[in-house]
């Protein structure tokens, strides 16, 4: 432990005394906080120590020790490393005080922890299931919960080799066996309680007017072209003005984290591709960083450069696609989107040549990357980032930025102030468009980003139009990084040590985070030294950015809700996980 952290520890110890205790387990960091003191400690950490940004809330089920631990990752919005605080709770009647009053950004994340892990957050304003359906029995991320088609606790499954025989999983374990229903469940007469609670919460709002007008509750989605997938916004309307908005999600939920805990560490890599399927290289990056932190290895120089090149190309392809689709939401039907997709196509060609797949790249390995650049690909990348893409970004700029309709639809709509953005744990372009220059590549540098010259793009109005502009800015900055990376790419190995399929990951925890195209993408991993991770949690930016959706939309017109959602740029594969 370095001197600096020792000093910090002393300060925190003196300030909180008995309420906190340094986490002394091997491979663990941060502080254990007494349950009843949590809100007090969190408030002090926010107000006195400057940890104003709650990045991730999750829970870990320590079944052998018969406890559940809720883990909070706090950061300063001015940059720097994390402060981790943890709260223990028993597995029966698990409850922890809610941090929503201190950090409103915890709202959706606490609902997720309740849904999947069964942690009751006392004082949460709206503690309902969020990803599983209402009426679902049990909390699936608990270690003693077993899914339908359960085979074994961890892969590889013994039945596959050497004496296994082929079968279809659905034949072996027909539906309805191994599925729990609540006692007395009858699908015919069942009324989803959560739905009633949702609509009850959407009821009348006093708008302080003498006109007695009726409010209408409208469902936008789940099947709606503006939602980019299956996502629902329940809105209460006064005329056309939005008074309340609740996001409803989970239609694409597949319990990625449970799958991840069954997988070996390496097997998770291709599954991360399927989170935000528009930027699989970035997803790989975050996961590789988290596991490498635990393993204590670093990739060789050339691999670091290749990683940065791929991550930045991903950012460009994601942003250009986001802009195209955002224009679709504004009603410029598909011409701008297809112009954007054309450029993205050329980037995907590079991914295909390097990794073998256009979107499910699966390119990163622990301590390196899967393979070196094939012949001629570097030339292709160079011609794209030096010549074509800068021109095309300018062209897109000329094409759209001063378009009067876009300005009219975007300026002053869906405003999120800097204070709100930080409080709601918004990340990435949403945070930076609100005037908070927080970019993990600068605030808490990882990989080799400290070597490149680039600016943190920031815009100050926090409206829809600025969230469009910030993506333009970021593409230009990514191109700057790419030009430097392509110029400096050294020769050498691309993998630390021999490639191996069974990696040894020492026991402990780690949180690896990258600045993904959509915001802070974090992976929280707990290893107990075995082949499979004990806990695998994804801090998904698309999901957490939705916490601020209501704040952005209230007071605007219903047509603007579509534009606001488009400007956040969510991918449902990541939101629902």
């Amino acid at each position: 432990m370095s001197e600096q952290t020792l000093v910090a520890e002393d300060i925190i110890k003196t300030r909180f005394g008995e309420a906190v205790e340094a986490d002394g387990r091997k491979g663990y960091e941060g502080y254990l906080v007494k349950r009843e003191k949590l809100v007090e400690v969190a408030t002090a950490l926010r107000d006195e120590f400057g940890y104003d940004y709650l990045s991730s809330v999750t829970a870990v089920d320590y079944l052998p020790e018969d406890k559940i631990e809720v883990v909070y990752h706090l950061f300063k919005s001015t940059g720097g490393p994390s402060l981790v605080i943890k709260v223990d709770a028993p597995r029966e009647n698990t409850s922890v005080p809610s941090l929503v009053p201190v950090y409103p950004g915890a709202e959706l994340q606490e609902r997720e922890a309740w849904d999947l892990m069964g942690v009751k957050f006392e004082g949460h304003p709206d503690l309902r299931r969020i990803l599983m359906w209402e009426g679902f029995a049990g909390h699936p991320l608990r270690k003693d919960w077993r899914e339908a088609y359960f085979e074994e606790e961890g892969k590889p499954f013994k039945s596959r080799w050497p004496d296994g025989h082929v079968y279809r999983i659905e034949d072996k374990n027909p539906f309805a066996k191994n599925v729990d229903y609540p006692a007395g469940f009858d699908p015919e007469s069942w009324v989803p309680e959560g739905e009633a609670a949702l609509y009850a919460g959407m009821g009348a709002v006093d708008v302080g007017s003498n006109l007695r007008t009726d409010h209408v509750v409208v469902n936008l989605g789940p099947q709606h072209p503006s939602t980019h997938g299956v996502f629902r916004m329940v809105v209460t309307l006064d005329g056309e003005t939005i008074l309340k908005l609740k996001p409803v999600m989970g239609y694409l939920h597949r319990n990625h984290e449970k799958i991840g805990e069954r997988n070996t560490f390496l097997q998770n890599m291709p599954f991360t591709d399927r989170l935000d399927y528009l930027s699989s290289m970035s997803n790989n990056f975050g996961y590789a960083l988290a596991v490498e932190k635990l393993m204590g290895i670093k990739p060789p120089e050339r691999a670091e450069y290749l990683r940065v090149i791929m991550a930045e190309l991903t950012r460009i392809s994601n942003h250009i696609f986001a802009i195209g689709m955002f224009l679709n939401d504004l009603g410029a039907y598909f011409t701008p989107a297809l112009y954007a997709i054309q450029e993205r196509e050329l980037i995907l060609d590079i991914f295909e040549a390097v990794s073998g797949s256009r979107m499910m790249c699966n390119y990163f390995r622990f301590g390196g990357v899967a393979r070196d650049l094939p012949e001629g690909v570097l030339e292709k990348i160079r011609s794209l980032v030096v010549d074509r893409l800068p021109r095309k970004v300018d062209e897109l700029d000329l094409y759209l930025t001063n378009n009067e309709i876009i300005r009219a639809r975007g300026e002053g709509v869906g405003v999120l102030t800097p204070e709100q953005a930080i409080a709601y744990s918004a990340a990435g372009p949403v945070l930076r468009a609100s005037g908070v220059p927080y970019d993990i590549r600068r605030a808490d540098p990882y990989s080799i980003y400290d070597r490149f010259e680039f600016d943190v793009a920031v815009r100050y109005h926090g409206d829809v139009y600025d969230r469009y502009l910030i993506r333009m800015d970021e593409m230009r900055q990514s191109l700057r990084i790419l030009q430097q990376a392509v110029r400096d790419l050294p020769e050498g190995p691309i993998q630390e040590g021999k490639p191996q399929y069974q990696v040894r990951v020492p026991a402990g925890e780690s949180y690896g985070r990258v600045e993904g195209p959509k915001g802070e993408l974090g992976y929280y991993i707990v290893s107990n030294g075995k082949a499979n991770p004990w806990r695998y949690h994804v801090r998904a930016p698309s999901f957490i950015n939705l916490t601020a959706l209501e704040t952005m939309a209230v007071g605007d017109k219903i047509a603007d809700a579509v534009a606001i959602l488009g400007s956040i740029d969510i991918v449902l594969g990541e939101t629902d996980r």
Binding site: P156, R160, W161, H165, V166, R168, T335, L346, G356, I405
Partner: protein, 202 residues
Amino acid sequence: MDGLGIIKGMGVTLKRFVDTYLEDIRWWGKRYYTREGVELRSSAKTRGIFTVQYPEEKLITPEEFRYIPFLVYEEGPNGEKQDRCTSCGICAKVCPPQCIWIVRTNDPNTGRPIPEPAEFYIDVDICMNCGFCAEYCPFDAIKMDHDYELSVYDRRAKNIYNKERLSKPVSYYASIRPTNYAREEKARAEEAAAKAARKAAR
């Protein structure tokens, strides 16, 4: 709000439109339905619309392209198939969705295992095309294919591939992945030479 931004934007659209026809004239007869034309339209130099008209035209698959694994066999002098696979089971262990099943062959007399699979199945409905099996196979026996046109009418009957369906000759592998094949053969030859040298030295 003078509409100038919209007019400028429409200028960009007009330029694309004109570019497409200029390119057509410039590459008269070569831009469509030729390999050269597809290559041109998927390079950074392309201008205007560059849609590739599938299935009449197909994108050129790069060597690393991966889709569904296949088993590589060597062709013996009399045309018999010699599996490279030794049924070591690494592919089945590393497979993320666990879609590979292997049954080992046992010697009928001694009951000891023989390094050759008796059965080898891949459920291609489950396969996620990650390429780990090919990457970690120590014998270069399983490789990722380039054939992506695999739709069938009856998934239950047709989508579990057995050993026969999966096996393809080494010459096919060499044709879809020439660089990888050359590199692996070179490594193999070097290893064999080193082995022979060690033997001679003893």
